[in-house]
């Protein structure tokens, strides 16, 4: 039974393949398998930009990323997750939507992330809008890609 969370995380990771550049991944905190009560609402606990995901956690959180890093990630953590659902990470370059990534969540708590590969033409201000399955805006994370 102790192996099941890791197995679940692996399976969720398989969902996070993106057609373009980014790909999503999901992880779940160890030992959390209980289903949250259905009366509770989906709640975003953390949304940050980071250089990479290490050990299921954001590594080098920042608001400015050098294009030489090669990629950048948007990490989101939800607590509680009342039921199986999905969210979107909408990546905007200035005010133009460039990528929409669908990420699945599972009760009772869930962390997930999306990532984009960086190119020279991506330099400038960006934002990631995190919305639920109904399109309700949960959070906006702003950052910049620079030299």
């Amino acid at each position: 039974m102790a192996m099941r969370p890791k197995l679940l995380a692996f399976l969720c990771g398989l969902f996070c393949v993106n057609v373009f550049l980014p790909w999503g991944a999901l992880s779940q905190e160890k030992g959390e398998r209980a289903t949250a009560p259905a009366s509770q609402q989906l709640s975003l606990a953390q949304a940050v930009m980071c250089e990479e995901i290490k050990d299921h956690a954001p590594h080098n959180q920042a608001i400015v990323f050098s294009v030489t890093n090669g990629s950048t990630s948007c990490f989101t953590s939800f607590d509680p997750v009342p039921e199986k659902t999905y969210i979107y990470h909408d990546w905007f370059y200035r005010d133009k939507l460039t990528t929409r990534i669908k990420l699945f969540l599972r009760p009772p708590r869930w962390s997930t992330f999306s990532r984009i590969q960086l190119r020279e033409a991506d330099k400038g201000p960006w934002r990631v809008e995190i919305t639920d399955r109904k399109g309700a805006l949960l959070c906006i994370v702003r950052f910049s890609i620079t030299d």
Binding site: V64, D95, P125, S144
Partner: protein
């Protein structure tokens, strides 16, 4: 003849004002400078200009270049060589005299008193040197004169040249009815043909007469005769009447006062008429010369817009005007003289199409509109609205190695924009100007401006046009 009349019939009121104004300026220049060397040189330059135009029209390239060069140098020469005369014209007169006043008849030279005095001095064998200036300024040639400023009288002149008077050896300068200077030193003549019995006094008289247009009376101490030096001539005058006639002629004083005044009026009238004819001719050469066509790109100006409505877009920002007119006028057009204005008072929200007609275009006089491209302009108008939008920092450059910009707070986080409704619908963020990372070493604050795109957007008066950034820098984790 019909063509000539047709030309005059096309004159606008601006053309007439133009001609009259410049004619008056030319006339005033004549009034102020007549009789001076500057005026003579100006006439010379005017002739050079005419020759230059003729040379250009005949295709005499080198001649036209040479004349052009001479004209350029002549302008400099006038200022340098005739600076005293120009200064005396401009300084001696007030603004009214410069713009309006006519030269009053100068105080009449008391010829009879001078003649009587000269012959009385000759009779008493007292040497004398009397200078009667012409139109030229003598400041450069006269030296060491002592200002006198007394009215001319026989007693005055006799006392100036009295043996024991310290200034009796110098010259007395008489201008009008005033003795201006006494004891003046005149330049000596170096002529070889002067009689050997002429002393320094006669050589001085000859020297000044050669160097200027002044008339100099010399009374000989030894021989008791009266000599007049004028130009290169020296002449002994035996009779008082002859001397009086010479002095009157030199001073421009007629024996009949009325005759002088009427001649003066006639001269001014002819000068005024000549100015008008000359400038009218020049004007017609410039304004009604060969037709030239040019294309002029002019921005469209919009007037009488309802303050609650804003221009969100236009089909064109500028229109091309095909203009015709004389070569000189076309070349002298300045952008601010050409305007295309559209009246938005009757326009509505949404697209409005305006035809650009003659009434929408203002042109300088003498320039005519041939064609407008495009002939119509579409203006899209929108309601003016307000919208609050978040501010985002536009970071640029590169952070020093090993540092991470982990967080930044903005004050204010949002600002209110004013602009067209449709324009605002597409705007969800306002960005700052580019903020350089290269100088950041540690956490701190800075104030930056906002960039509005499109530029027609405005920041609400209730919002600030700058934001303060408080940023946190951390070390990069391995």
């Amino acid at each position: 003849m019909n063509n000539f009349l047709a030309l005059f019939l096309t004159l606008q009121w601006q053309d007439i004002v133009d001609i009259l104004l410049v004619s008056y300026i030319v006339f005033r220049l004549y009034i102020l400078l007549r009789g001076t060397n500057v005026f003579r040189v100006l006439i010379g330059i005017a002739f050079l200009w005419v020759f230059h135009r003729i040379a250009v029209s005949l295709g005499l390239i080198v001649t036209s270049w040479a004349i052009q060069g001479i004209m350029a140098v002549a302008a400099l020469i006038i200022i340098v060589v005739f600076r005293n005369e120009i200064r005396s014209v401009l300084q001696a007169k007030n603004v009214k005299a410069l713009l309006w006043g006519y030269p009053r008849k100068t105080a009449e030279t008391p010829v009879d008193i001078i003649v009587e005095s000269a012959y009385e001095l000759a009779q008493s064998r007292s040497g004398a040197l009397i200078v009667l200036p012409g139109k030229e300024d003598l400041q450069e040639v006269l030296h060491s004169g002592i200002p006198w400023g007394g009215s001319v009288s026989k007693e005055m002149i006799l006392s100036i040249f009295w043996h024991d008077n310290p200034v009796h050896d110098g010259a007395a300068v008489i201008k009008g009815d005033q003795v201006e200077e006494v004891g003046a030193v005149l330049p000596l003549s170096h002529r070889k043909d002067l009689p050997s019995y002429y002393g320094t006094r006669h050589r001085a008289a000859a020297g000044l007469a050669e160097a200027s247009d002044a008339l100099v009376i010399v009374v000989s101490e030894e021989r008791g005769d009266v000599t007049v030096a004028l130009g290169s001539r020296m002449k002994v005058i035996k009779r008082k009447e002859d001397l009086a006639r010479m002095l009157r002629k030199h001073a421009g004083v007629s024996s009949k006062q009325g005759g002088y005044l009427s001649r003066q009026r006639l001269e001014l009238g002819i000068a005024a008429l000549a100015s008008v004819v000359f400038i009218t001719g020049v004007w017609f050469i410039f304004a009604r010369g060969l037709d030239t066509l040019i294309t002029f790109e002019t921005p469209v100006e919009y007037m009488n817009r309802d303050p609650a409505i804003e221009i969100s877009d236009t089909s064109v920002n500028a229109v091309r005007l095909h203009l015709s007119g004389s070569d000189a006028l076309i070349k002298s057009i300045r952008p601010e003289q050409v305007k295309v204005r559209l009246d938005l008072s009757r326009s509505v929200v949404g697209p409005n199409t305006f035809s650009i007609a003659q009434k929408n275009i203002s042109l300088p006089p003498g320039v005519f509109l041939k064609k407008v491209e495009p002939s119509s302009v579409t203006v899209i108008l929108d309601h003016v609205k307000r919208k609050e939008v978040p501010v985002q920092i536009d970071w640029a450059g590169k952070l020093p190695e090993g540092l991470i910009l982990s967080e930044a707070r903005l004050d204010p986080e949002k600002i209110e924009l004013i602009g067209g409704q449709k324009m605002l619908e597409n705007i969800s963020t306002v960005y700052t100007e580019q903020v350089s990372l290269s100088t950041i070493q540690k956490s701190g604050t800075m104030t930056v401006k906002l960039v509005l795109d499109p530029a027609s957007l405005k920041i609400s008066p209730s919002s600030r046009d700058k934001v303060t950034i408080e940023y946190m820098v951390t070390r990069r984790a391995r």
